[in-house]
């Protein structure tokens, strides 16, 4: 039966190649969508943990320092005995005349000391900033923020938030000065992990709570991508199912002949199943290679999880078998008497 399956695929090679490429493109999109969701899910945890793994004290009622505009009062900040204050604002950076959105994070010097840098140093003077590498800036470059010109002194990675918006880290004084006209606002205060606050009007969030909160604004985007992923699986199933069913229709007379000369219907149905699984696995393999090429040039960072390299083929096999089931059913119902008669 392997011989029959292999030779039939060779005979219909052009069709199988076209279908494999089509399915591979669909699977490539699936890899990328999976990688996007993985990135969206990991992004806030990576970024927040880089800023600080301490707990974050925020105003009571605030969803989190990155998603709420609520600020702590000065007396609350003092009472919390903070390790460091954090100021957060969304801002527009202008780089070489091109404006783009970014997340401005003002930190104290002690917090900067623990911020992992890819290159450079923490800000030491006025209007110096550390930026995420996705801004495209290099150390020594200048950019505009809130009417002031900042110079880049350090670079970070994996410090994007809210689906790829790069973080711009500045000293807290500069951040307040540029984004809040010098007002002493504080969105959060970093406290020792496990600290329970008894300061009225404040609550303490863990770093993971803060990151979790950042997933909220992306919920609908993630749901949409999930829906697209389901649709892509359906498209892949339709492509594989259609080609296998078409093959079964075309080979109806062949199957009748094979049954008449001693073949078993389960052997023939198995042959179709093998073809479907083969197409699916070949397409997954091609897609795995394609995504490695496409992912780096994708506008958003794509983090394809290693687990998807075995999950996707597994699901692909199941989908291929489901898709081929109609064709297999047809073969199992083939009447060997159909071999008689004139040309089909």
């Amino acid at each position: 039966m392997w011989l029959l399956t292999a030779l039939d695929m060779k005979y219909r090679a052009i069709r199988f190649v076209v279908v494999t490429i089509g399915t591979a493109l669909v699977f490539t999109l699936l890899f990328l969508m999976t990688g996007l969701i993985e990135q969206f899910n990991q992004e806030p945890f990576l970024a927040v943990r880089q800023v600080s793994t301490d707990d974050w004290a925020v105003p009571e009622g605030s969803s989190g320092p990155f998603t709420s505009s609520q600020v702590l009062r000065v007396d609350q900040v003092g009472a919390l005995g903070a390790k460091g204050s954090v100021v957060v604002a969304r801002g527009t950076t202008v780089i070489d005349g091109v404006a783009s959105e970014g997340i401005i994070i003002g930190l104290g010097d002690e917090t900067f000391a623990s911020l992992p840098l890819d290159a450079g140093r923490p800000p030491a003077g006025e209007l110096e900033a550390v930026v995420d590498e996705t801004t495209g800036l290099a150390i020594g470059d200048e950019f505009q923020l809130g009417g002031s010109s900042f110079s880049v002194v350090g670079l970070t990675t994996d410090t994007t938030l809210l689906a790829g918006q790069p973080a711009v880290f500045a000293r807290i004084f500069d951040a307040r000065s540029v984004m809040f006209e010098g007002s002493p606002v504080t969105m959060a205060v970093l406290v020792e992990p496990g600290t329970s606050t008894d300061v009225a009007g404040t609550v303490v969030l863990t770093a993971d709570d803060v990151a979790e909160d950042l997933l909220g604004p992306l919920e609908s985007a993630v749901s949409s991508i999930d829906l697209i992923r389901i649709l892509l699986w359906v498209v892949a199933a339709i492509i594989i199912g259609a080609v296998v069913y078409l093959s079964a229709l075309e080979r109806q007379r062949d199957f009748a002949v094979l049954l008449a000369i001693g073949g078993r219907s389960r052997q023939l149905a198995g042959s179709l199943a093998i073809q479907a699984v083969f197409v699916a696995l070949l397409a997954v393999g091609t897609a795995a290679a394609l995504q490695a090429v496409v992912a780096p040039v994708f506008p958003l960072k794509v983090r394809v999880p290693a687990s998807s390299l075995w999950q996707l083929p597994t699901v692909a096999i199941v989908v291929a078998l489901l898709a081929a089931s109609a064709a297999m059913r047809r073969v199992r119902k083939t009447d060997p008497a159909a071999a008689f008669g004139g040309p089909a």
């Binding site: 029959l4 060779k10 005979y11 002949v257 008449a260 000369i261 001693g262 071999a339 008689f340 004139g342």
Partner: protein, 317 residues
Amino acid sequence: MSDRLTVTDLVVEFIHEKYAIRPIDGLSFEAVPGEMTVLLGPSGSGKTTLLSCLGGILTPTSGAIHLGDLDLTGLDAGALEGFRREHVGFVFQAFNLIPSLTALQNVAMPLILTGSSRADAYDRAGAALDRVGMGDRKTHLPSRLSGGQQQRVAVARGIVHEPPLLLADEPTANLDHIQAESIIALLRDLREQGSIIVVSTHDARLVPVADTTVQMAEHEEVSESTPQRVQYVAGETVFGQGDRADLVYMIEEGNVDIVRINADGSEELLTSMGPGQYFGELGALLGYPRSASVRATTDLVLTAYGPRTFRSNVLLD
């Protein structure tokens, strides 16, 4: 190889839509190893149905088929599958070679499907191809073979496992007369291996080369006596569905119902007729069995014509 094929009172009945048709009705014959039996009949006479029964593909409604001591009609689906694998070779009208396989692979397929090793299957397939004169075309795909060559390969596929029964369904129907002649000669030569060869055809030219001929549609001369006046009383049946059609009837007086008898015994009124109308002409002209029953609904006077007389005296008059 010395087992004879015996068909006894074979009946095959299909339910088509709601009514029953019997392409084979009480057929009996014997076929002997080493001989070629030709099943002769027009389209629709049940030749292919009979081949399906002989090949263990179709179970007849009643009657018996024996190959030696083996009673086919007593076998279940699984046993019939085994019977086909071991005892039957098929040659089809449309050759039916698998297009993706070479001649050698096509011929080897019955052996591979039944578990032979590929090497053994190819050896035997090569020998079968040599036997049918296709030894030099082993690596050719069917698309690169002529119709006659494809049919030779199909014959090799039919005999590769040396079955006691070789069934050929209209093996020359898609061939020109030169290719047809070579296939017939090949089938005749194959008798030497001691198989029973059963060939279905609508071509009466094959009859002289057959050792035995089975007429699948008895053709009886229809009487063309002078038109006769016949009478029926109300409720009487003029003819029944499935009866032999020999006459055409013109209604002189009275009325009839034309009814179809369904498989479940129920009746379906097709139409009613009265004076000046006629019925039964197509069956009589074509030689088909009656496709419906006709019953007098009143006392009835008819004129009965032979079909040719009816055509010349009534239709063309």
